[in-house]
Amino acid sequence: MMNTPAERIPEAGIEYIEKKPSKLKWALMAAFPIFLFTISLFLGRYSVPPNQVICVLGQRLFSLPIETFWTDTVETVVIRVRLPRAIMAALVGAGLSMSGASFQGMFQNPLVSPFILGVSAGASFGAATGLILELPALGIQALSFLFGLLAVVITYLTAHIYKVTPILMLVLSGMVVSTFFQAMLSLIKFIADDEEKLPAITFWLMGSLGSVSLKDLGIAAIPIIVSIACLYMVRWKLNVLSMGERESRALGVNNELFKAIIIVCTTVISSTAVAFCGIIGWVGQVIPHFCRMIVGPDHKVLIPATMMVGAGYLIMIDNLCRLLTATEIPLGILTAVIGAPVFAYLLRKTRGGWN
């Protein structure tokens, strides 16, 4: 008897070939940050001939036997300014985008940002306090990092009831903690001397990679890389967690442990990013959404995709900040100015990203 088409099971069966992002897509996504990273070493306000850039990098990074024929300034610009800045942009871009994607999975909502638990509000308050106390740069960074962590710890403890931490409670207490630290930040701004301190705080809050040094990079790189590696390793479980906590538990996921891992990783990334570069909004929201359009919703492929695209995106925006106008534009302004319309477009195109 012939089966009707509706009932017929295609021969596909076991040989069914799963739709996965093509090799070309992966290659393009990997090439995106590598290309932008490379050209960002050649671009800048201080003009350095390309052959000098190549030779400086060859001698200093790969110990090639090249004789020095460039000035000290050229070496400083390439090795101490452009290189750490591009690496930091890549790390922060990748880190924030992966944090955003992980949180969106964990909170079962594609519109969540990595700052939802109050980390940016806490870190901003910490930095402003450091600025007003006239601490050295490292002190400001440390205070900012610690207050970022503190804000998330308070959020977590507030949400923790009956030995569990429901997602909804996390969102709500994150809002409460953010509001509190934002008010405290306003208070600091209010008492800050408006000749020097207030502009310094305001400027710092806008975010910039302009002051990143090799030393900064040395401190920031390790926590960010470790957290990125950790998020990468648990990526597939995000699929399970995004089905809801009741289901993921029934499937054998220790929700509390798993949420803790994700919160710790994202908080370390965000706090470090804010401490060294100020508030860089919109990257953590736009990039995961954009990547979902390219590779689909499966976190197994989405997380590495956000890592690559996020790194490239932030290097690109930072290059625009450096080169677009005569004076450098703060990074946070451009990520929002470019991010918001792109996000609006993606929202319309994907109808909210739900289904």
Binding site: Q108, P110, V234, K237, R246, G252, N254
Partner: protein, 262 residues
């Protein structure tokens, strides 16, 4: 047959002063299909959540293979007991294959991702249930009945010894109901131990081997289907006069019950 699942003197309450139900005792033997009936809000789903350890009992214990579930880890529980939730949508449009593959979670380490082997198992289970054609389709874009079958496939992918079904046919039309019930019946006939809650007492005659009727506060009556499914018990459990109708037709003997609308 040995007792697979045993609930002893169980009570549950969301707070200390009030109990949803008390003194529940249920034994489910290997290969049995126990149907849990009862009015809305009497705590059938809660009982399922206590069996798989999502909620902790106030008093009493649940034993699986004579082992108290309190002594089992979340992973061990997931390897032994699978639960098919009421069909629902997902926040992200995963492929149906991906949803089924999630069933492998209790067999994978914290940092592990599913292997080719896991994917093959997921696909062969989907084929067995006749839903292989859905593998590439988005879970959010298939019908309610198909979603329910995908969730059943996911639970089978867990390779559990007991499967709990929470209202597997609610919101489903006749065709989808038939699809889901046929699948459950097949599983039962193959020897799977099943506990299923239902709003539709009529399904019991089709697939149940035993019935437990839960009321507000505790168990009303339980036992083999033929003994327990009486007008008196149904009327008492649901708090409305219920009639059982018998029909013999060319294709066989059919029974169904319905509330008396007066």
């Amino acid at each position: 047959m040995s007792v697979k699942l045993s609930i002893k003197d169980a009570s549950f309450g969301y707070n200390d002063s009030q109990s949803v139900w008390e003194n529940i005792n249920i034994d489910v033997r290997e290969g049995e299909c126990l149907c849990l009936l009862g009015p809305n809000g009497c705590g059938k789903t809660t009982l399922l959540n206590c069996i798989n350890g999502t909620y902790a009992l106030k008093e009493g214990s649940v034993f699986v293979n004579n082992k108290n579930i309190k002594e089992m880890s979340i992973i061990q529980l997931a390897q032994t007991i699978g639960i098919v939730f009421q069909e629902h949508s997902a926040p992200f449009p995963y492929s149906s294959l991906e949803v089924v593959r999630m069933g492998r979670t209790p067999h994978l380490g914290l940092f592990e991702t599913p292997s080719e082997e896991d994917t093959r198992l997921a696909l062969s289970i989907m084929e067995e249930l006749g839903i292989a054609h859905l593998a590439g389709k988005s879970y959010t874009h298939i019908s309610g009945g198909e979603r329910q079958l995908v969730l059943i496939a996911r639970t089978l992918c867990q390779q559990p010894e007991i499967i709990l079904f929470d209202e597997p046919t609610s919101h489903l039309d006749f065709k989808n109901q038939a699809m889901v019930l046929r699948t459950i019946k097949n599983l039962s006939q193959k020897g799977m131990t099943i506990v299923m809650t239902s709003h539709f007492p009529n399904h019991v005659w089709d697939i149940g081997t035993r019935v437990s009727m839960l009321g507000f506060g505790g168990m009303v009556v339980q036992g083999p289907v033929e003994e327990v499914m009486t007008e008196k018990n149904l009327s008492k459990t649901y708090g409305v006069e219920t009639k059982i109708y018998d029909a013999k037709s060319g294709i066989g003997h059919i029974r169904f019950c319905a509330p008396n609308l007066g």
